[in-house]
Assembly symmetry: C2
Homo-oligomer: 207 residues x 2
């Protein structure tokens, strides 16, 4: 693409560095901004800059937070001995939306992925292991995505804490509520049979 303006070219280039945004989309977005009031572009630029500069993470769970101890960790009504290990803030938001969980989180900030050059030292695993070893954790729930990388990360953490006295669990995998059995993939269906639960338990879960 040849641009008639260096300013335009720069903006399109930087925009196209975002994941899933090609040159054409970047040009469309930038031209859209040009048609909007100048304030919109300024607000977008300012909000991104200040987020990147002033971003803070909760000292306990490593979730993005504006204060040193996030709202969840600071809440005395939440079970401090129950810790759910997740990949990033999106998982925290998803679980919080269910209103079914009353424990704390531990945000790893990614998963072990040799392909992308992400090793255990790039994630907040060390602080999790220390937290477990200090004895405050009664149960650790692994809620990583069920991919090769997620399983590897779970297993890596598990190996480091398996000699500690605590319960470890993973979230249940199975047919989604409301889904038809015939359309489920075999692995999920197989797992949901092997890991079946007592009928009385399911009745309780339904409300």
């Amino acid at each position: 693409m040849e641009f008639s303006s260096k300013l335009l070219e720069n903006a399109v280039y930087e925009m196209s560095q975002l994941p899933g945004v090609g040159k054409r989309t970047a040009l469309r977005l930038v031209l859209h901004l040009l048609k909007q009031p100048q304030g919109q572009t300024e607000r977008l630029a300012k909000s991104l800059e200040s987020l990147r500069k002033e971003i803070k993470f909760c000292s306990n769970c490593h979730n993005i937070s504006d204060v040193a101890l996030c709202e969840i960790c600071a809440n005395p009504k939440r079970d401090q001995s129950l810790v759910c290990v997740v990949e990033d803030i999106r998982d925290v938001m998803a679980i919080e939306n269910t209103s079914q969980y009353n424990g704390l989180y531990h945000v790893l900030g990614g998963k072990i992925s040799p392909m992308e050059g992400i090793g255990p030292q790039d994630l907040s695993i060390q602080s999790l292991v220390e937290k477990v070893k200090s004895g405050v954790v009664r149960e650790l729930i692994f809620a990583m995505s069920s991919t090769m990388e997620g399983d590897t990360t779970n297993f890596y953490i598990y190996k480091q804490i398996q000699d500690q006295e605590l319960t470890t669990s993973t979230i249940a995998r199975g047919i989604a509520v409301g889904d038809e059995l015939e359309f489920a993939d075999e692995i999920t269906l197989g797992r949901s049979i092997v890991q079946r639960i007592p009928f009385e338990t399911s009745l309780k879960a339904n409300g």
Copy 2:
């Protein structure tokens, strides 16, 4: 969506104001930026801000340009009496890419669209009419998209200059080069038959 950080919420909100970017995509993009070096976010913010602030338009064709008279308008080798009317800079770039056009452009900056509240006064139509009336234009080529809005815009301009002495034309519509006839839509195929051209002319166009 409930966010654990006001900074994050702001950034996601501003990002989601872009066309085609929902809240989830915005969150994904913002989290991506957080994982990248701080410089990337700064460059993105700076480039958008300076584009929006320092943007200039060519005084002759209204295309985005860093100088008062864009490279195309300032090129003495180009035919100054041939003007192609287009919607925005993307159309200029597309036509320039063909290397088949040696005239100038006139960028309207949009098309007449009552639905979106865009009237003739929002586009650079007045300066085009003046340019035509000054007598420097020998031929005006309408290259707007063939939609209701594009046709309306073409017609609106045509009505204002029809008493002037100049040739007006529109770009040819027809089956794309390399396309099979059986898959073409009826309107395009119909037009390509009605507006057929002498075989000798097509031989010349092929090179």
